[in-house]
Subunit: 348 residues, 2 copies
Amino acid sequence: MSHVAKKRKLDKSRQDRLYFDSYTDVTIHEEMIADHVRTNTYRMAILRNSDLLRDKVVLDVGAGTGVLSMFCVQAGARKVYAVEACSIAEQAVNIIRQNSMEERIEVIRGTVETVDLPEQADVIVSEWMGYALLHESMLNSVLYARDKWLKPGGLILPNKAELYISPISDPVVEDRLHFWYTVKDQYGVDMSAMSGFARKCIMNSDITVNPVTVEDVLSHPARFAELDLNLVTVDDLKSVKGKFTCNSFGSAAVNAFCVHFTVTFPCPEKPLVLSTSPFKPETHWKQAVLYLDAPVEVVQDTVVSGEVNMYPSEESARHICIHLDYTIGEQKRQSKTFSIPDWSSEAQ
Amino acid sequence: MSHVAKKRKLDKSRQDRLYFDSYTDVTIHEEMIADHVRTNTYRMAILRNSDLLRDKVVLDVGAGTGVLSMFCVQAGARKVYAVEACSIAEQAVNIIRQNSMEERIEVIRGTVETVDLPEQADVIVSEWMGYALLHESMLNSVLYARDKWLKPGGLILPNKAELYISPISDPVVEDRLHFWYTVKDQYGVDMSAMSGFARKCIMNSDITVNPVTVEDVLSHPARFAELDLNLVTVDDLKSVKGKFTCNSFGSAAVNAFCVHFTVTFPCPEKPLVLSTSPFKPETHWKQAVLYLDAPVEVVQDTVVSGEVNMYPSEESARHICIHLDYTIGEQKRQSKTFSIPDWSSEAQ
């Protein structure tokens, strides 16, 4: 009883409409604010940079409910321009007034590509990260804002993003495939013939957004890409790629790869890292899981290597695709391309 | 990070394509087979009717993986025509062969409205029920099959469906609204201004498919409609309506109504009932929850009464709408119309 949402080529305006509409519902904002790792790391990073923020001008790109803008005022910012394209901006106005910050925070309704600010900013703050970091690529807007509105040498919070990959063994998949062998005992009909079809459906080319259990991760995550937000260009984001090499902790059946990311905030003493690693407390980003067509056995120190290439899908520039080339042990090189289905965000 | 699926008027063919595509993925079949209440009640009902099924001809409408057809063979059916429109029919063929039932079960790929059967059927078996019973109204196809292919006086399994409603107090909603009052303690910014907006978003007019906890049900469910599958017509389904009266068990805040259904199988000793009541073990249908715009206090024996009208949505004939007129205690009559969002099936 599940309608498969069909991917279709969307004209840009409809893409944007869907994209901005999606932030008007309270659930996503509730989820983001309730994500303590996310919100508290941003708060700490902003407060620890109060020496740089005091009496300065801040641009908050995609301000949503305005929570980051309010943190900046708490850190001493003279003026914050909270740019938000969708109607949640109306809520931001109420919340900011309720916190008596309307003198310091100006909510500007519109896309950062189209709005006009009265002055340049000393600091850009933005929570732009999507699933697998780049899904819904709001980073483009941050880079646009940087080039147009950030003073030379200005601060970007966060200013670095890193992507990691690790081989995993997801037991849920094998349980689901095994299910079809258990039907006969329950109902007296043999449905094991479904397991092949089930594997095709489950081990598909969708990017699955799931919390990965630490025990299922088979190696230290390998970093395959780093983005310096002071330097990276929109053009660079058309293909974010890099090689990786992992060494298996022990014997297991690799049936997927897990992609996660970190972003880093510069801070006076030491940088603050917001991590979505499966080895760290869960965030609402969870992890991006890429299922192989079939599991591959590994033993301790089996080398799992390859290259990842992330790029916007042709159907919708906001949808990320991940092309994976990988070699597991002595196995010959394999390739698979993944994308996030249109309804992924509903399915989470 | 959630794209709001936009309801749009779909042409019939696209509606059907979406509808039939949706059954090609394994997950829904896994969920249905794994639903022990569903599958085992059908199995018991079919086996207990072996006297009526032995050496008879059966039509399985929307056969899916063919599991009900195989139960009919186990019950002694001479021939089963398993009509299935979508590509899962290919899996049914494999499974049926694996169970050496290919002589007795003929899988016919197509809609029951278009396929041609070599003979009339003595029995129609079908698992046609959707969320809130009528969502994705496959019942129309069963009635079409009944009128075209069932012998006079033939058996329909199940042959009765009943709809129930009860007032509930959903604590999750109040917790979610309260969340915005807790933000200040966590992050030092007051976001309680969001709670009004949150109520609008959460108490919306979507039919929410959720498992309702027994403790949250405030009265005995009241039956508001009954469908006799031997007599009901497609025309009757354009508006399935009825009145209800409930008496509150005790003091609580009603913030929603819960709609559930039962279907009944005639059996030699006593009828078998497949119930999706919140007072019974959970099924994959869960319950349909209709949120009020604001909670209403009730005490013991407060009368909650009204009328329910269920009808197909204009956007898509397979989507059900529920119009609710209700009076709680001394409150004046209120009305609200609900529908199942396009992506509900993904959100489950």
